[in-house]
């Protein structure tokens, strides 16, 4: 497996749970600055794929290369530090901390035990928190306890926590689930803004939303890639139509 220009190169990736192959010899390449959307019916293995890339699940076989560095055996926190950010399906924020603290804790400095003890919230950190908070529309709510935010605001906050680390690859699992139409629009704008200088993988079901943001779409089915390409191309693919409408 030679080195590539891709930010992320997943090759022959397989994971099996008790013989059931949730991901089956999958190949996926993501370009620099690309916003890739992964769609597919329930149980296709979309979330498992993200879990494998960020290290939440261990791969049975295959390779995951990020910027040409092999990630497959690395611990999760090391993958994060090399630049992979992952947002979970349900908003995963620290409910008891304030919005400010949520963002501050995500700042990528003082990540070791003693680094964290010595960490000082200086002007650089405060500026970064403020600018990210403005980006996600929570600039006025820094002192609010995060648990009191609305569902949509929580989703944004988690995206903001990832932005604090300025990852080169950002993976979002159903970021607009449970959002109102207005919030969906804002989220689409947000995603378009933040993908300017990084690559993104987004899992989403809402086709209108997908069409709005995707550079390229990957359709997964039963742990494999069924089709890949632009939205129009994928929508016309007979295999895809069969999976979504058939059965």
């Amino acid at each position: 497996m030679s080195n590539t220009d891709f930010v992320l190169a997943v090759e022959d990736l397989t994971v099996s749970f008790d013989g059931f192959k949730a991901i089956d010899a999958l190949n996926l390449y993501v370009d620099k600055g690309e916003l890739r959307v992964i769609i597919g019916p329930n149980g296709a293995g979309k979330t498992t794929l993200l879990d494998l890339i960020c290290g939440r699940t261990a791969a049975s076989a295959g390779s995951i290369k990020f910027k040409n560095v092999e990630m497959t055996r690395l611990a999760e926190y090391k993958r994060v530090r090399s630049g992979i950010g992952r947002k979970f399906q349900t908003p995963s924020i620290y409910e008891n901390l304030s919005v400010f603290q949520n963002l501050e804790v995500s700042f990528p400095r003082g990540r070791g035990v003693f680094g964290a003890l010595a960490f000082k919230c200086d002007q650089e950190v405060r500026d970064q928190v403020q600018s990210v908070a403005n980006e996600i529309g929570l600039g006025e709510l820094l002192d609010m306890e995060a648990g009191l935010l609305s569902h949509g605001q929580k989703q944004w906050l988690e995206i903001g926590m990832l932005l604090m680390q300025d990852p080169e690859l950002l993976m979002l699992d159903e970021p607009i689930a449970g959002m109102s139409a207005r919030e969906r629009e804002l989220t689409a704008d947000l995603l378009k803004r933040i993908c300017k200088n990084r690559s993104m993988i987004v899992i989403e079901h809402d086709m209108a939303f997908v069409a709005q943001i995707a550079h390229k779409v990957t359709v997964m089915h039963q742990g494999k890639i069924l089709a890949e390409g632009s939205m129009e191309k994928v929508q016309q693919d007979p295999k895809v139509i069969d999976v979504y409408l058939g059965h």
Binding site: C54, Y77, F88, V105, G112
Partner: protein, 396 residues
């Protein structure tokens, strides 16, 4: 003046200062040296209790083996004191003079090699701090790196406590067995059994405890403290924000172990002996109840918890020995069922609002005369010692 006030409020130092005044001024004035020495002994459990607040309350890691670290710290200190007390002249009636008496009784004819370095105080002090911490590191590193936590960890620490007691009791030639290491006399020639020494040791112990609490408060305010809280809420989010979650838990556990060890060493100095009865399963789990009664999230509360439970233990086991275990049983059950946040929790949920209401009514009656003050009164009473304890007992 206002700056100082703000500083005190901001760091939660009000209750810290009240505790300091209580143990540095009130107790020494109100008690004779016998009772003060007893309080000093209880305060050594305070070290264990604040350690548990850090690892159990903040880190979410329940340890049922704190007695092991308390004991290791205590034994390291006791070994040094015992060697000093076993000089060849005062042990000349032994068949091998110059070794501790229990070794002589067990037919040992020479000091074991691993006892040798304990002739030196600096080594003993380093051992007090490092041996328990290293043991804690080995246990917790192995377990947390493999994502074992919670209940499994508690059971393993309990097993370690059992191993340690069986080992100490079984190897009586090297450890003094079930009696422990007794008859400790002097520290570098200074007789620790006199009243003046007891006073000095009491104050040294109290200051050390306050220092440790201050350090823990600082840790809680640091990013590490925030991260520990964040981990309790969403461990995966912390992990996928680039933190090695296991190392933070290892730190919390090692900190708790080191604090317990300091407590153990101070115990040996003040009480004059160390024995396996402070190491095993039962004492270890009793130490958990100190923190639970005081409040598992409150450092200050945990010290009050250690004091109260031990006052109770001394009082009841002298006057009503049969009742004590029942009381202890109801403490365990009651704290878990009714007051999961202990006295500190009762204080914040009941006493504080009551004080606020009272203040509000007072303010209302004065509102016409005086413009409302923008600073809250700094002094808050200690977590409701007199007021709440009878209630706690009644309720259980």
């Amino acid at each position: 003046m206002n700056k100082i006030k703000a500083f005190i409020d901001q760091r939660g130092l009000g209750s810290f200062l009240i505790l300091a005044a209580l143990i540095l001024v009130v107790f020494p004035l109100a008690m004779d040296i016998f009772r003060l020495n007893l309080v000093g002994k209880y305060l050594t459990y305070g070290f264990v209790a604040i350690g548990l607040v850090m690892c159990w309350g903040y880190g979410g890691v329940l340890s049922l083996g704190q007695g092991v670290f308390f004991g290791l710290g205590g034994y390291a200190m006791a070994m040094f004191l015992k060697l000093e007390a076993s000089d060849p002249i005062s042990t000349k009636i032994q068949s091998t003079p110059g070794i501790p008496d229990f070794m002589d009784w067990n037919q040992l004819t020479a000091l074991p090699l691993w006892w040798e370095p304990f002739k030196y105080l600096p080594f003993a002090l380093v051992a007090v701090l490092l041996v328990p911490t290293l043991l804690a590191f080995v246990i917790s590193f192995a377990m947390f790196k493999r994502r074992v936590g919670g209940v499994y960890f508690a059971i393993i620490t309990q097993a370690v406590a059992l191993i340690m007691t069986v080992l100490i009791i079984g190897q009586q030639g090297y450890t003094g067995g079930v009696n422990g290491i007794t008859d400790l006399k002097t520290l570098l020639g200074w007789d620790i059994r006199t009243n003046s020494a007891k006073y000095i040791l009491y104050f040294a112990n109290a200051l050390l405890l306050l220092g440790c609490i201050y350090f823990c408060l600082w840790v809680q305010k640091s990013k590490l403290g925030t991260l520990l809280l964040a981990m309790r809420d969403k461990e995966d989010r912390v992990r996928f924000s680039g933190y090695d979650v296991s190392m933070f838990k290892v730190f919390a556990f090692c900190l708790a172990a080191m604090l317990s060890a300091i407590g153990g060493a101070m115990f040996t100095l003040q009480v004059g002996f160390m024995s396996p009865s402070f190491v095993g399963i039962v004492p270890s789990i009793e130490m958990v109840i100190f923190a639970a009664v005081g409040g598992r999230m409150s450092l200050i509360g945990a010290v009050y918890g250690a004091l109260l439970v031990n006052f109770g233990k001394t009082y009841f086991s002298e006057s009503f020995p049969d009742l004590w275990l029942f009381l202890m049983a109801s403490l365990f059950i009651g704290v878990v069922m009714a007051f999961p946040n202990g006295l500190a929790g009762v204080y914040t949920s009941h006493v504080k609002p009551w004080l606020a209401r009272r203040k509000a009514t007072q303010a209302k009656s004065q509102a016409l005369a005086v413009p409302p003050a923008d600073n809250p009164p700094p002094a808050s009473p200690p977590p409701a010692k007199e007021a709440e304890v009878p209630g706690l007992i009644r309720a259980t």
